[in-house]
Symmetry: C2
Subunit: 564 residues, 2 copies
């Protein structure tokens, strides 16, 4: 039997990447990364003088096409295989990254009449423009006792689809009306490839308040937000919502030519990136929590039952695996926090010593921090440098470090920051458990776990659980490839179910970290302290963090009129 | 009339310095610094293999003599004057820095039979060996309802004389018994110069529980600490206690020769260094608070009435000015805190930019921090990096920074640390006021105020008070010189009272900072937040800082058996 392959494409924040996976052995045969030519657009629109507001984070849709046209041919070429050897293709995407399109699926921002209008552009997941809209949705949903709110930990994020749509309606009704559809970028790319608009259930569930049992919230609810918004789910958000693992359609001849693939290739319905990682990491057994650790961390869990968990990002039936509930929680600053420290907090002598010892600053800090015992730094931190997503869901919170002395050293602060992210994860695990969900095994993937052994040991010690690290650096792309293989089905060289495909294709786990009892004991004491501070600053004991941000904003605006 | 001069000698922590002052014009004619050859001894005894315990900070008495023999001749030589032109001499000293001596006033550590014994050496003020002793004194004084305790803000410091004596009795009774006297180093140097043991009232009052109205605590009290300790004030601490401004005696021929001065020169009774600054700065009017700002800050105030002030270091009748009560409070880390940040917290790019702009890192940070408005950093700090002296008097407290975001920059942290020390000073001012004492004017001297305009502006804005900066960098040495002129009296070319000498010789004030109402308003809001955190972490709301230090100590000891 000749070799067969599936392709997974992962659309991230700064770049897209394709992996080519052997559909029998699960081996990653090739991968290729295409950085987005326009990156994250946050100051002004491309090729124009149109300045953007603070909190605006946009993207250029052509960058996604460039990934298709560059990375896909590249992996085929690297592996030396022909288009006929590829049996299926799947994609995952950041979310909610949304594209306003016209009837021909052309992004409004690509049309001359709209391309100088910020609201016509792709809004990246981290576009935080609709903060007020998210708060309004939150408030009105609470007032009305909307039942779906509890599936989102009782709080709506400005990063989601509906706030973004409402922002456009409020600030640019002309764009709102000109748009035929608002699409998840994942669904837009799939529609381009196949000619069919199939909305993926994963994003609809996690970012658009949709559920398998209830569908969208009622028109009454949307009308309460704005009378013009009443019909949105029948108009701008219309379209079939398709379960993960389904085939969205087949590659059109035009796109096949642009991507160097064969026409008719099965293409899977899209999925959100962190959620694809669950499949790629094979973390599908009950009680197995996946930590997707990069700039931020997502905490993913699959269960056959639905629970209400405090402060989670969402729970969606069939969101990742058919017949199962998928849970997501998150910490918004993890790798970002370490990067901040390395840029803003590490003295010159460390850089000098690291250089003379042939290490990066990160390595130097990790080595020194690893020589410390738990508790030896005397420091404790709250990891809220970018707010708290789970379980407090409060963007006004900020970071804290306590225990400084005149002897405090950079490696001690570095370790305290790592520990703080571990305590934050522990809070999330405890919230899952408090709801009734079991968490028995941790699996880690993403950029951080492989390169940072100390971090993994700290997580094992703080949680008191074994943590297994996934080998691949492209876990979500492999997850997308798994969906590609299911879109093909066994008849066309793939698999007939997601669980089967996961068993065959998920990335192996290369390393396991076990809690060290002596260290675990110290971390239990430190976690008690963390929890006291967490509750004091996070649950209304002292709202100083919010007040400091308010004072800051007033000072900033009065200083320059522009707080950027 | 020919020119006449007085000499003031300031014995600091790392060095001693002499100033020569024109006794008519008050002009500083010359100064000279002699660094202590043995510095602060904290690892092992000089020329030996005897290792010291953590918290041991000792000095070599010969270093003090070297100051007399080097800096004094130097100032005469610089000014080109003869010994006959000098009319008086005064000294000030760190305190309680104590010397165990034999009957001939020879320090025990200079005798072959004792020189390998740590407890025979000079204990520097910051020797923290007798922590347990200080706590015991504290406890027993409270149990017995000792009336003198309230003069010290209700708390005894391990830096004072009595805990140091008790430490020697407990740990080295043989040294205790071999010592004929325990002397303040100031009094030892004066005794060497004059041949007469005259204990200075300032140190006796602030560091030895002595008061003009009650003398020392009772023998019963000392016996309750240890039966062998009952008679200490009649034995090891015996000797006349002399008011500040008195003449201790006249320079002996032998010492005159060693110092290049004339025999018979009037020598003043000693004084504690920060207290000498009050005279040097001329901050002797009621309601005028002197901030002596260097590595730490002392807050000195003179009043004609006695009040009980929370958490002050002490109040002593006649302590600085006859007929007046002298108050002292303090913050243990100010300049030290900024130095810590510059060493441990400032990234390489700042160093690079500062260099390319021809500035020191300190100047670069100050310039950038000065461009920020109050509150704009979003940060708030507790300045307890070296514990809190006033008003909480708790060495277990530690530093805190709150409000971090991923955009936090070094100059923002720097400014927050400066602000924190200002808030700490504001707490002390408020405590003085709450007791009934007026504080209407701030005067600043020491190493920091002259070189850091932003810091002074912040202090003015945070306190809402004008702050005047003293010109001299040797304020305490000038204060000692003032006492030298009074020791001489008008009959010998000096002055007959301290107030008169202060009027003529105190250092001028060169610069005044006024609060800026708009900034004051923001700082009022921030100070409210500071106070909430101060009380929560400092008054038992959450003793996490103490627990972190405990965990740290356990971790440190179990790691290496040595926590140094």
């Amino acid at each position: 039997m000749r070799e067969q392959f599936v392709i997974g494409i992962d659309f991230g924040t700064e770049s897209g990447r394709a992996v080519l996976v052997d559909v029998r052995s699960g081996k990653e045969v090739a991968h290729h990364v295409t950085p987005y030519r326009h990156g994250v657009i946050s100051e002004r629109l491309p090729e124009s003088d149109v300045l953007l507001k603070p909190d605006a984070y946009l993207q250029h849709p052509d960058d996604y096409l460039e990934v298709l046209e560059t990375s896909v041919p590249s992996v085929l070429q690297q592996a030396g295989i022909k288009p006929e050897s590829v049996v299926g293709l799947g994609i995952d995407f950041t979310s909610s990254t949304m594209v306003p399109v016209d009837r021909q699926l052309v992004p409004l921002c690509r049309k001359p009449e709209w391309n100088r209008h910020p609201h016509a552009w792709v809004k990246l997941w981290k576009h935080h423009g609709p903060k007020a809209e998210a708060e309004k949705i939150d408030r009105i949903a609470k007032e009305r006792g909307e039942p779906w709110l509890s599936r989102y930990g009782g709080k709506v994020s400005s990063e989601w689809m509906i706030p973004k749509c409402l922002e456009i309606l409020g600030e640019a009704p002309e764009v709102y009306h000109a748009a035929d559809l608002f699409l998840e970028a994942a669904d837009w790319v799939v529609a381009l490839m196949t000619g069919e608009v199939k909305r993926n259930l994963c994003a609809a569930g996690f970012k658009s308040f949709w559920s398998k049992s209830d569908g969208y919230p009622s028109e009454d609810f949307f009308a309460a937000l704005d009378p013009r918004f009443a019909d949105i789910t029948r108009t701008k958000l219309r379209g079939e919502i398709c379960p993960v693992g389904e085939r969205a359609g087949r590659l059109t001849p035009a796109m096949a030519e642009r991507m160097g693939l064969r026409p008719g290739l099965p293409v899977a319905v899209g999925i959100v990136d962190a959620h694809a990682s669950v499949l790629g990491a094979g973390a599908v057994d009950p009680g197995e929590m996946l930590l997707v650790m990069g700039t931020s961390t997502c905490h993913m869990l699959i269960s056959d039952e639905e629970y209400e968990v405090e402060g989670i990002s969402g729970v969606v039936e069939d969101g990742i695996l058919p017949g199962m509930y998928a849970y997501e929680a998150g910490q918004p600053a993890v790798g970002d926090l370490f990067a901040w420290f390395i840029k803003q907090g590490v003295p010159e002598y460390v850089q000098r010593e690291a250089q003379s010892e042939g290490m990066t600053v990160f390595q130097w800090l990790e080595q020194r921090a690893a020589q410390l015992r738990p508790g030896e730094s005397g420091l404790l931190a709250l990891d809220w440098f970018n707010g708290n997503r789970s379980i407090l869901d409060n963007a006004h919170l900020s970071g804290l470090i306590i225990g400084y002395t005149l002897g405090t050293r950079p490696e001690e602060i570095f370790r305290a920051l790592m520990e703080a992210t571990a305590f934050g994860t522990r809070m999330i695990i405890d919230a899952y458990r408090a709801s009734g969900l079991g968490v028995n095994q941790l699996v880690a993937c993403g950029g951080l776990p492989q390169s940072n052994q100390l971090l993994m040991q700290i997580y094992a010690d703080v949680t008191g659980m074994e943590i297994a690290v996934v080998s691949s650096k492209h876990t979500s792309a492999v997850g997308a490839a798994i969906l590609g293989s299911v879109a093909a089905g066994s008849a066309e060289g793939g698999y007939d179910s997601i669980p089967e495909a996961v068993r065959r294709l998920a990335c192996p786990r290369v390393k396991k970290f076990q809690p060290i009892p002596e260290q675990e004991k110290v971390y239990q004491r430190l976690f008690r302290e963390y929890k006291i501070l967490h509750d004091y600053f996070g649950r209304g004991g002292n709202d100083v963090m919010k007040r400091l941000k308010q004072i800051r904003e007033e000072a900033g605006f009065s200083a320059s009129g522009d707080h950027r």
